[in-house]
């Protein structure tokens, strides 16, 4: 997986990888890097333009936008990775059971999965927000409910593709116990492609979470979440920096993960070959 660096071809792709590393670094080191306390309000200095002290300006409560964007990185990435981890585990679990059981169970599970594939998380999040109260909890729950089918479908397809491969059959023939086959052979080989999905999903989940926060059912102000910050800054149209910088952060982060996912797909998916192999003549 970390041979990834060799596969980056254009400068834009290299830039994306650098940005991904950068934003993860920011997320981890955020508290040491932010010049100001992101939650500290200062009503003498509201909506001030970007300056040396306040690189991205201040918002309607006088908080430093730059520091808030940095803290937002941690919040966004942590939540996103949490959601994806849970969704992937559930989905993979269902996918493996479905693929290895075959027959009626497989059919039933897949039909059930199909029903929910692509259900709009935003709407369901509204439902959860009304039941449990608005906040990250509702957003996370809604995402978990609507996202796992993607992983179920994908893992099932990958397992089906791999399980009949020769090295699996020979392991079986040698008497290796099934569970061991699943964990040491089946999963590692089949799930390279899963990283493509994960990378792309990071981008997508970030967009959904910030969207939910924007309409008020995700993170709540004063949490330094990028989407919530944009909602907060809407009313002050002259102070463009309050809206611009968090949005730019979302754009760069999501786009970078998309690019990395695309690179991964190009390298890992042999069916999308660049040059058709010479016909055996």
């Amino acid at each position: 997986m970390f041979k990834l660096f060799n596969y980056l071809r254009s400068p834009i792709e290299k830039g994306a990888m650098i940005f991904v590393v950068f934003i993860v670094f920011i997320a981890l080191m955020g508290s040491y890097l932010a010049p100001h306390d992101p939650y500290e309000a200062n009503f003498k200095n509201t909506l001030s333009a970007p300056s040396i002290d306040y690189l991205f300006g201040t918002d309607a409560a006088g908080r430093d936008v730059f520091s808030r964007v940095i803290y937002g990185a941690r919040l966004t990435l942590a939540t996103t990775l949490f959601v994806i981890a849970i969704v992937a585990i559930i989905g993979i679990f269902v996918g493996i059971i479905s693929a290895l059981s075959g027959g009626v169970i497989d059919n039933l599970l897949m039909r059930f999965t199909d029903i929910w594939l692509g259900f709009p998380p935003l709407i369901l999040a509204l439902g959860f927000a009304a039941s449990f109260g608005a906040g990250m909890k509702a957003a996370i729950l809604a995402l978990i409910f609507t996202w796992w089918p993607n992983y179920a479908r994908l893992s099932r397809a990958l397992i089906l593709e791999t399980k009949d491969k020769d090295y699996i059959l020979s392991a079986k023939a040698m008497g290796v116990p099934n569970l061991r086959i699943i964990f040491s052979h089946l999963i590692p080989n089949a799930f390279d492609v899963l990283f493509v999905q994960i990378s792309l999903d990071v981008a997508a989940v970030i967009l959904v979470i910030s969207g939910l926060s924007f309409i008020g059912v995700g993170a709540q102000i004063p949490l330094a979440e990028w989407g919530a910050m944009i909602a907060d800054g809407r009313s002050a149209s002259k102070a463009w920096w309050v809206v611009f910088f968090p949005g730019l952060a979302i754009l760069l982060t999501a786009t970078s993960f998309n690019l990395i996912g695309d690179v991964l797909r190009r390298e890992l998916d042999p069916t999308l070959s660049k040059v058709k192999n010479e016909k055996p003549s």
Binding site: V275, E278, K279, S281
Partner: protein
């Protein structure tokens, strides 16, 4: 008689920094002639024919390939499209993938005609006649069927019908029976032979099956590692090959008549990849007749006329 198809020093590679897959290939086909191109997988048989027709978009070609005097290499799509279909027909190897799964077979056969300007009705009638001619039962009804509704042998007949639809002068058949059952193979080959005879079409039969060569072609080119090593009339080649490789392949054919044949004969080793061609004669590492001379010549020997054909072996006079 003017040559129908004439290749001169044609070379093909798939990327600027790779080696030529075929280089310096030259041969001619006369009108109405049936030529076999034989060799193992990877010898360049298919590439030679498909690339000059512009059917391999990633191929980089050099040299000259003239069809009835008209240059194909480097020609624009407009020029190529005047020749493809209308003057040269193609039968592909795999009938299960050669047909568009989304379109009715009748439409696929009449497509070429309609693009030439034929009316739908005329094209349809012509197609139904063609289907009948190639042996598809109930052609009027089956005109509207989809490829998946036919067996492999039937699909190949449909592919042949497509190739014949615009009445070409040359038919190129690339391993037309490899994907089919033995019994069906014979039917399909008989059909091809009959059509060529009836229509006076030239035939290029690309195959690794020497049996087909002997039964259905007048002349054969033996290819190895991107080069032609022998060019002889088919019958003569079987009786009297002019190259160690040809001899080796013929010896490989199991002989049911010889009682004391204990082991199957093979040619030891594997054909080389294009990035790894041996020095000198490309066949010498596997050749039981080779000596030091074969390695030191600075390139693979060109074809020299000998007896009834041509040979690419420098020792041909002593051996054969």
């Amino acid at each position: 008689m003017k040559n129908l198809l004439e290749l001169n020093s044609v070379s093909v590679r798939f990327s600027p920094d790779e080696n030529d897959v075929i280089d310096n290939l030259s041969f001619e086909i006369k009108k109405g002639e049936s030529l076999g191109i034989a060799g193992e997988s990877g010898s360049g048989k298919t590439v030679s024919m498909l690339s000059i027709l512009g059917l391999m978009p990633q191929a980089i070609l050099n040299g000259s390939a003239k069809f009835d005097g008209e240059e194909l290499i480097g020609a624009s799509n407009v020029v190529l499209n005047k020749i493809r279909g209308k003057r040269i027909g193609l039968v592909l190897q795999n009938p299960f993938t050669a047909l568009d799964p989304m379109l009715r077979i009748g439409d696929q056969i009449s497509e070429g005609l309609i693009s030439e300007g034929w009316s739908r009705r005329n094209a349809k009638n012509h197609t139904i006649n063609l289907l009948d001619e190639v042996g598809v039962p109930s052609p009027k009804e089956r005109f509207f069927d989809y490829p998946h509704q036919f067996s492999g042998g039937m699909r190949q007949r449909i592919v042949i019908a497509i190739a014949l639809s615009q009445d070409p002068e040359l038919l190129i058949a690339d391993e037309p029976t490899t994907a089919l059952d033995v019994r069906v193979q014979k039917q399909v080959m008989q059909l091809i032979k009959k059509e060529c005879l009836d229509r006076g079409m030239g035939l290029v039969l690309i195959t690794h099956d020497l049996g087909l060569i002997s039964n259905y072609t007048d002349r054969v080119l033996m290819m190895y590692a991107g080069k032609i090593v022998e060019d002889s009339p088919s019958k003569k080649m079987f009786e009297n090959p002019l190259h160690p490789y040809s001899k080796g392949l013929i010896d490989c054919l199991p002989n049911l008549n010889v009682d004391d044949q204990k082991f199957l004969t093979t040619i030891p080793g594997n054909p080389p990849q294009s990035n790894d061609f041996p020095n000198g004669c490309r066949f010498h590492p596997r050749c039981s007749f080779s000596n030091v001379d074969c390695k030191v010549i600075d390139k693979h020997p060109p074809l020299e006329k000998y007896k009834w054909g041509s040979s690419g072996c420098i020792h041909v006079k002593e051996l054969f």
